[in-house]
């Protein structure tokens, strides 16, 4: 398949040699795969950490390998802190945006690479180093930090006297996150410039696939959010190392020790504002790319256009915009003025509107379609389910009066894991099953994929649904030994249930690893367009060549032309000229 009568592009030869091709490559596709593999490494570590603390919660007296006996409370806190940090930053930010975005954004807009390939390579390697800086916190004296992924001061600002891991470990955490911010800013800048300037002929904004819209909007969110976290990290680092008092108030006592007396007047709330001004948009950085993937996958496997394409694009923008106005809902219990809380609450609830538009349109896309239940499709439908389930509990938490008792309970854990953690992971899985044939030229095994889906889908609900109930009953997050509280002791059967569900669901992920690496060599050959899809990446070979396109593609139509009446095929690729499309009966 190729467009006709367009200038032939002159490809310089692809770089030779293993290091230039696969390690320090500037090819966006290689960088995309590198990000994806980095996220796979991070999710593997993060998942193992979650198994360890789940086992500890269910069987507090169990002796786990590597802990020198029973897991101590500070070790438990290390596990949850590093689990959260790895998952939020190095998995949910890296895989759907930097991974898939790098690989497919240029191809889907008909470009031969990102606007700034060298910058792109540098972004990856800074992220890569940041990952190892973070992991190294496990191996320094005192171990990894224990203050949670939100790193609230004063605990995070005063150094080792506030607990093991709060010395060198926490310093490494701050440096790692600052590096991550820098790399993410450079990536965001690259994505935006590429989307604005590198689209091929005919690729108007309203002909962009919703994946491109999602990566574009997410990049804008990242561009505006990561700089704020970077600033906050620098302030925190100065408090920790240079004796300043941005966040440290006077009169603190930790374990009968006072931090250096020259600290006074700082405001922990200042960190909370800066952190959540980044932190809430970060939630959308994690979820928006998956929304793009899900829209595309649902459309492809329903053989129908996305229902309400423009509304989907505008809803992405609306969610991104509102996402910057709601950070205060993380701080309802911080003593904020009830008037501010009402404003934040109203804005938070209003995010339900564009979210409902998206959900409605996903269901509208499915409605009446010729649905093909491929693995990618199952994960996309699973995403919608999880997003709705997790989103509903968000309506509870958005109201200050309801949030006060539920804050810092397992209800919150259940909410955000379903709505943005597991949902975004389902988006990543959907994207992986969908694009694997394009990326590696072979298909993943569908039967294994479906088994993987059902274990993961049911498992996710079994893990997180009971946590709603636990939270309403008052179970608090970050408590290493909840059994120590009399009113929580009767929950231990639930803890066992959740832990067993988590272990089984985790074990089911081995199917995915096996499927992925086995299919790389032994999967069925894919061909250029195994799903009969319409967007530009399916117009080139699998995997695409260096430079992506043999000829500069021209785009003639929108991205989701499925089952258009009057044509012999049920899909019309974006790059086919009208006279190239076979009419029915012709």
């Amino acid at each position: 398949m190729s467009a006709h009568a367009h200038p032939v592009s002159h490809h310089a030869a692809a770089p030779q040699g293993f290091i230039r091709r696969y390690i320090f490559s500037t090819d966006h596709k290689v960088i995309g795969v590198q990000y994806w593999l980095l996220a796979l490494a991070a999710v593997s570590v993060g998942m193992v950490l979650s198994w360890l603390f789940r086992v500890h919660l269910a069987w507090p007296h169990a002796i786990l390998p590597g802990f020198g006996g029973v897991v101590k409370p500070e070790q438990y806190l290390e596990l949850v802190t590093m689990h959260g940090t790895l998952m939020i930053f190095f998995v949910l930010t890296v895989a759907p945006q930097s991974g898939f975005g790098n690989y497919f954004l240029p191809i889907q807009i008909g470009a031969d690479d990102m606007a700034f390939p060298t910058l792109n390579m540098m972004s990856f390697w800074v992220t890569f180093v940041a990952f190892f800086v973070l992991i190294s916190a496990f191996f320094v004296p005192g171990g990894a930090p224990i203050n949670g992924w939100t790193s609230y001061p004063p605990l995070s600002a005063v150094g080792a006297i506030s607990g093991p891991g709060q010395g060198t470990g926490e310093t490494l955490w701050v440096i790692s996150i600052a590096m991550f911010c820098l790399a993410s800013l450079l990536t965001a800048l690259n994505f935006i410039a590429t989307t604005i300037e590198m689209r091929t002929q005919g690729m108007s904004l309203m002909r962009m696939p919703l994946t491109v819209w999602a990566w574009f909007v997410t990049a804008i969110v990242g561009l505006l959010a990561f700089g704020v976290l970077l600033a906050a990290c620098i302030l925190l680092l100065l408090d920790r190392t240079a004796g300043t008092s941005f966040f440290i108030p006077a009169g603190l006592v930790f374990n009968d020790t006072q931090p250096a007396l020259n600290h006074s007047g700082g405001s922990p709330l200042l960190w909370e504002h800066l952190f959540w001004f980044f932190g809430h948009p970060e939630v959308y950085i994690a979820i928006l790319p998956s929304m793009g993937v899900v829209s595309t996958v649902l459309s492809t496997f329903s053989r129908k256009p996305v229902f309400g394409y423009k509304a989907m694009a505008y809803a992405l923008c609306a969610i991104a915009f509102l996402g910057f106005t709601v950070w205060g809902h993380h701080m309802f219990v911080s003593g904020m003025s009830p008037y501010s809380a009402i404003a934040f609450s109203f804005l938070t609830l209003s995010i339900g509107v564009p979210s409902a538009i998206k959900t409605f349109n996903w269901l509208g896309t499915l409605w009446g379609g010729k649905i093909q239940f491929t693995s990618a499709m199952l994960f996309a439908i699973g995403f919608v389910s999880l997003f709705v389930t997790g989103g509903l509990s968000g309506l509870f938490l958005a109201q200050p009066s309801v949030d006060l008792p539920l804050h810092d309970t397992y209800f919150v854990i259940a909410h955000f894991h379903l709505v943005m953690g597991v949902a975004a992971v389902f988006g990543i899985f959907a994207g992986t099953y969908y694009w694997f044939p394009k990326m590696f030229g072979r298909c993943m095994n569908e039967k294994l994929g479906k088994i993987h889906f059902w274990f993961t889908f049911i498992g996710a609900y079994m893990i997180f649904m009971p946590m709603h109930w636990m939270g309403i009953m008052g179970a608090l997050r970050r408590y290493a030994q909840p059994g120590g509280l009399a009113f929580l002791q009767h929950m231990s059967p639930i803890e066992h249930f959740i832990t067993i569900a988590a272990l089984i669901t985790g074990a089911a992920q081995l199917l995915f690893y096996w499927n992925f690496f086995w299919s790389l060599r032994h999967g069925q050959k894919a061909g250029d367009n195994p799903w009969h899809a319409t967007t530009l990446e399916w117009a080139v070979s699998s995997p695409p060549p260096h430079g992506n396109f043999e000829q500069v593609p021209h785009v003639y139509r929108g991205p989701y032309e499925y089952s258009v009446p009057g044509y012999s095929e049920d899909y019309i690729p974006q790059h086919l000229a009208p006279e190239q499309v076979a009419k029915a009966g012709a």
Binding site: A12, L189, A193, E197, T200, F246, H546
Partner: protein, 225 residues
């Protein structure tokens, strides 16, 4: 951000307008700068020169958010606390501000000379700008020395913490600009992806931004004391 129209005629450089998102047939990537042919480094199609300016604009947006976070921290920290003690700002800051302001003028003069293809004069004014930039950084260091001499250090008081932090953050960004000025002034412009006119335009936008940012920070530090 001040928008400077391009002053050069060789290959037409597009203007930066945030809202200007090229669409439709003959959109970006085609036609523009086509005369440059396939660029070095294996690009099948040359990157439109405008994308460099767009990328820079996005970078400036990120830098602005970074500084706004620090500025809002300044305002909140000062508003919440009762331990804020003012200190007199070193008078040399006025001189530094004037130097930076003048450098914004000289960089425009340099670009105008380049527009007239008077490369020697361009180099001269470009060097003057670079020198003024270095002079500004040296002046900022002198201000730090003067404060230290009076016993005002980074951790002395939140007011001095913010002074050192904001001047350092601005200084680091300006040093990046100086490195760009040096590279642009002295590199050979054969076979580069980005044209000299685009590079000088980007450098000028960045430089004016750093100039304006400094004036804003200076006012903040002066009035916020």
């Amino acid at each position: 951000m001040a928008h400077t129209p391009p002053l050069v005629e060789e290959p037409p450089i597009a203007q930066v307008e945030l809202g200007d998102i090229g669409t439709g047939p003959g959109g970006p990537g085609q036609g523009r700068d086509g005369e440059r042919g396939p660029g070095p480094g294996g690009r099948s199609r040359p990157v439109p020169q405008r994308s460099y300016v767009t990328g820079l604009t996005m970078g400036l947006a990120a830098i602005l958010m970074f500084f706004m976070a620090l500025v809002s921290a300044f305002i909140v920290r000062k508003g919440l606390s009762d331990d804020w003690r003012a200190f007199p700002l070193p008078p040399i800051l006025w001189l530094n501000t004037a130097i930076l302001f003048v450098s914004s003028i000289t960089i425009q003069v340099a670009r105008r000379r380049l527009g007239r293809e008077d490369v020697a004069a361009f180099r001269r004014w470009w060097t003057v700008t670079t020198g003024l930039g270095l002079l500004f950084v040296a002046g900022q260091l002198i201000a730090w020395r003067q404060l230290a001499h009076e016993g005002v250090y980074l951790a002395s008081n939140p007011s001095s913490s913010f002074f050192y932090l904001l001047t350092a953050a601005h200084g680091v960004h300006l040093l990046g600009g100086i490195i760009a000025l040096i590279v642009i002034g002295w590199r050979s412009w054969q076979n580069t992806r980005v044209t000299r006119s685009t590079a000088t335009e980007m450098a000028a936008i960045y430089w004016h931004f750093m100039d304006g940012l400094w004036i804003f920070l200076f006012l903040l530090l002066m009035m916020g004391q």
